[in-house]
Symmetry: C2
Subunit: 350 residues, 2 copies
Amino acid sequence: MTMKLKDLALHLGLSQTTVSRALNGYPEVKESTRILVNEAAARLGYRPNASARMLATGRAGAIGMVLRGSEEFGPHTSEFLGGLGGRLAEEEVDILVTTVDSYQDELAAYRRAAASRKVDAMVLHSPKLFDERAQLLFDLKVPFVLHGRTDIGKEVAWFDIDNQGAVERATSHLLDLGHRRIALLNGVKGRTFAEHREAGYRLALSSRDLPVEAALMTNSTFTDEVAFRLAQSMLEQNHRPTAFLAGSMMTALGVFRAIRQAGLELGSDVSMIAHDDVFPYLNADNMYPTMSTTRSSIRQAGIRIAELLLQLLAGKPAGAIHEEWPVELVLRQSTAAPRPIAPAKAYSAS
Amino acid sequence: MTMKLKDLALHLGLSQTTVSRALNGYPEVKESTRILVNEAAARLGYRPNASARMLATGRAGAIGMVLRGSEEFGPHTSEFLGGLGGRLAEEEVDILVTTVDSYQDELAAYRRAAASRKVDAMVLHSPKLFDERAQLLFDLKVPFVLHGRTDIGKEVAWFDIDNQGAVERATSHLLDLGHRRIALLNGVKGRTFAEHREAGYRLALSSRDLPVEAALMTNSTFTDEVAFRLAQSMLEQNHRPTAFLAGSMMTALGVFRAIRQAGLELGSDVSMIAHDDVFPYLNADNMYPTMSTTRSSIRQAGIRIAELLLQLLAGKPAGAIHEEWPVELVLRQSTAAPRPIAPAKAYSAS
DNA sequence: AGAAAAATTGAAATCGCTTTGAATATCCGC
DNA sequence: GCGGATATTCAAAGCGATTTCAATTTTTCT
């Protein structure tokens, strides 16, 4: 079997107590013995048994996350995980992932994760305006950081990006260019970020006394395929949109395809601004034409949330952990002033 | 605090022993008391403390995975995780994820994961022909299932798809159509799957006595961007390829862009067969033109690997766990016979 | 009915680590 | 060179489950 504390202590001729303290950096152990202990531990490859330690200390050394299988499980998640895990690894904390298929399973999964004590805290993703999962975790007294925002009438820790501001600025820019029919391909209805984006969209329009047209707003998951269908049907409409706000780079890909298939050209016939979560394998700068984006690295968000989690575990009150990051608007080739539209042509032809 | 076994036992007027046995389905407890216990446990919301249980039983109830951050961390991973986690969840096993940035960190991460006893087994991804990580886990006596294959001269459990056969068939098909300059955009050199794919490619060519041209084979990560660059430079060559074998759907996207940017058309000027890991947000059928693929669901692979892990933990010898799945070749619009090429035109013009 | 067998239940040890409270060494000033 | 800090070290008591071995009931069989 592998070496345990007892063996190490025996080997050193010391008590478990002293060895344990030496390894954990307690002050009441002589410097020389600490060195001795550390050296021996390293040489013999001693590693404390995580469960035993946890049982004794009550801390699990892990952060929990529940991933909903099919639906919203995509590239966003892996990028986020990369950031989160990278930062947590520095503190020797790892990530316990539970995957679920249905929403019902999801609540159960949170309950299970909380009760098993395998995690010290959790991260909650794309919450709804009123999020039951957050409510549940709050009631269960499980520390958690929200990636997004929710209002359950309690003090919860959250990190979010300025979705509303981003979309408002993007919309305004398109309006400035002269666009009047701007489609918003938004996320699933009810999610806070989607609502915030819609709010930004509406704000930009209403501040110029322009009407909001329901036919130009859709809510769906961010996949290439769905976006393709939605954009396609929009482009077939009588008054087709002249510009698209795509909720993610995947969405942008789908819209792009629809535009091309309709025989139109992105950057001249139609404009687009996509939200870019910064995936290393989908670079807006390398697209053709290059894509204008509202940009905010989801990986950086992961890193920051890891830090907030650590603060939370260190005792900082949840109510004191609120952070909103701004979103950049990066203009590239996919945005341009709209062409004189069809009706004009029709008149001259008649 | 939350309810523990002792409390539950006290509440029921039974001993911890009996309660524990009742809950864990041991046969030596009277049916009536078992019902009583289960009922009370459910009503009071009792959940065993995972660490305590683990300490006592020695099983962690978790599977470990190490994800390399920046590089190969993408959509493949999340799909795979979805499958793996879904199946494992049925057995109340969860996934402990560690993320690392450098390769050096990676070995250390495996060592750490193994020593901490937080996981019962691990999954190892895209191994090299001789994989040090596999070697390490083997030496550490940590049970693991390889997603892919390696040869470390030991009995290891693995699951893989028939990469060689898939590429051989795809290449043969392109050859049948008349293509002679077929580019292979392969994965990172040294990874077993990439080597197998190359072997399949070579086999198809050599079985018709056709030469293999180094300029037509590249090795890189599977990202849209890299693929775009590679394809672009290939298309600028004197004898440009008339067909592409793309290592993944991301790669295909990049190649597609390069083709279009070169003023060529996919499905007529150039053909392509991409390997499709079946991402819900990138459907080959919905692309334009629809994409011919070699298809094998990475999510299904995850599910199957979960089962193999469970078998491994149940005591099945690693040497008895080998599984190779076939890969479908699905032909769609992106493949066609090559056009009569430039030189012909040149002659007639002179 | 009484002994042996089978079915249930319990007390206590154990898993490997942390930590409290007591014990022993080492240091200080005078 | 001695009493009282001050530093170090240790023995033993948890942490919350499982499990061994023994004790107690209940059944079964003559």
